[in-house]
């Protein structure tokens, strides 16, 4: 049975990257606790519009945990305190209590400038992918699935790395503004498979160079990223990227 909760929501308002920004707050009344967090924000916006106020801007798309667009820093945790392995859109109001104050902030990192309120520009991630997160191998017509043998363990590990949805929570959580968990996951998903090996060295160098050029920080292994990653990526990926990168540079 759903029960209703009332709480205060403090949400970040900011007009573009240069604006200083500030918090506004709003009293939410009798919200059923089976409402999703984003539905709750929809209700907030309807109430704001009714009051003649500007609605609160936040990012979202699929609302089913697979696109990586939703990106809210809720009560000090990227994506909020979901069961790990879930994004903001998979957070439900039953995780909160009657009378709570819920603080909603954008990803705060120099690599992700604020577009408006809690919507940030994460196109830096696209640029990193464009630098090398693909294969140019001509695969020709589809071949028999068993033609290239891939150990189950490698296939599973590659799939786990590929499940990174590029949400940016890792960067948001990192005191160094480092994008290493994202980049290492995207390097790993290909480095682990035979189809990705021919360009592995080139890819690792190109993606790290782009990441550095875009101003992301130097990873100091604090593990804040893996603690908040909705797809449970681990720093084993970062070790793999370090290995790929160092090997590639030493071979030059």
């Amino acid at each position: 049975m759903a029960k209703n909760i009332s709480f205060t929501i403090k949400y970040w308002k900011q007009n573009g990257p240069k604006d200083k920004g500030h918090f506004d707050s709003h009293q939410m009344k009798d919200i059923p606790d089976d409402t999703s967090f984003l539905e709750m924000l929809d209700i907030l916006n309807e109430e704001l519009i009714e009051e003649g106020k500007e609605p609160f801007v936040f990012d979202h798309d699929c609302r089913e945990g697979i696109c990586g667009m939703c990106s809210l820093y809720i009560n000090g945790t990227p994506h909020g305190k979901t069961e790990r392995g879930a994004t903001t859109c998979q957070l439900y109001m039953r995780k909160f209590k009657d009378g709570d104050t819920i603080t909603v902030e954008p990803w705060r990192s120099a690599g992700f400038p604020v577009i408006k309120d809690c919507m940030v520009d994460r196109s830096a991630f696209d640029k990193i992918i464009q630098a090398g997160g693909y294969t140019t191998v001509r695969t020709g017509a589809p071949q028999d699935a068993n033609a290239i043998l891939i150990p189950k363990q490698d296939a599973d590990e590659a799939m786990d790395c590929a499940s990174c949805i590029g949400c940016g929570a890792c960067v948001a959580a990192c005191k160094n503004g480092s994008a290493m968990l994202f980049v290492s996951s995207k390097v790993s998903q290909l480095a682990l498979l035979p189809q990705g090996r021919p360009e592995a060295a080139k890819r690792a160098k190109a993606m790290v160079a782009k990441m550095d050029e875009l101003g992301f920080g130097n990873c100091t292994n604090t593990r804040a990223c893996e603690a908040v990653c909705p797809k449970c990526e681990t720093i084993a990926n970062i070790a793999r990227l370090n290995r790929e990168f160092i090997k590639a540079k030493l071979a030059d």
Partner: protein
């Protein structure tokens, strides 16, 4: 050069200089323990490491390592602050798996440098430096009489306290630093991550206990230490 120009390269500099310093500390810690048992043996090590060309060369190398590690600590931290940006979160919630040390390496490092300066003043200045400038008894004892300098230093409770604070900072720095440097080198993964982490804690604890044992033993019972006497001849010089 990629070592200086890429983030992973800069981390590699941090990692390799860090490991080299850990190896040195391990040797230094083992060497110190000798003082608890034998004044003769300890002072013999001191004279072996006096102002010979190889000892001076090694000391210069160590100084360079500390300088590199120190400079890169500031370069990395400066770049990371910039990458993080100026906007602070209003609410933060540190996940349990994030070690405190991992987020405070620079502060711990600065404490370590201050301790290092004190240490150089207490020992190196009166020992190697005194020999180099040709005034071997400058500090009140023979330059090779490390044992007496230990006794003198730790008879002062202020120094004992400062050294204990220093060692605690070093312990925290190492518990994160050791596994972090292997992670940076890329020799880690799902299995080795936990192994390196346990090795870090064990290694840091053993090394720090070696130093702590000497400091505390000399603070508590300076006169009953180092009594095993006789000439030790480790190898013909």
């Amino acid at each position: 050069m990629w070592l200086f120009k890429s983030s992973i390269g800069r981390k590699l500099i941090m990692s390799i200089s860090g490991i080299a310093l850990v190896l040195f500390l391990t040797f230094h810690g083992c060497m110190n323990v000798v003082a608890i048992f034998s004044k003769d043996a300890y002072n013999q090590i001191c004279s072996l490491l006096g102002s010979n060309w190889y000892a001076i060369l090694a000391t210069a190398g160590l100084g360079a390592l500390v300088a590199i590690h120190f400079i890169y600590a500031f370069i990395l931290t400066f770049q990371n602050r910039k990458a993080r940006g100026n906007n602070k979160y209003a609410v933060t919630d540190k996940p349990a798996k994030v070690e405190w040390a991992s987020q405070n390496m620079l502060v711990l490092g600065i404490i370590i440098v201050l301790g290092l300066l004190l240490h150089l003043f207490n020992f190196w200045y009166n020992m190697m430096f005194a020999e180099i400038i040709g005034q071997p008894t400058m500090g009140g004892y023979e330059a090779t009489d490390g044992f007496s300098y230990i006794q003198q230093t730790f008879s002062n409770p202020v120094f004992v306290t400062l050294y204990v604070i220093w060692l605690i900072a070093l312990w925290f720095h190492l518990t994160h630093g050791i596994w972090s440097s292997f992670q940076t080198l890329g020799v880690s993964g799902h299995v080795w991550f936990n192994r390196w982490k346990n090795i870090s804690y064990a290694w840091a604890t053993v090394v720090i206990l070696c130093f702590l044992a000497v400091a505390l033993a000399f603070a508590i019972c300076p006169d009953s230490l180092g009594n095993i006497s006789g000439k030790v001849v480790p190898f013909a010089m």
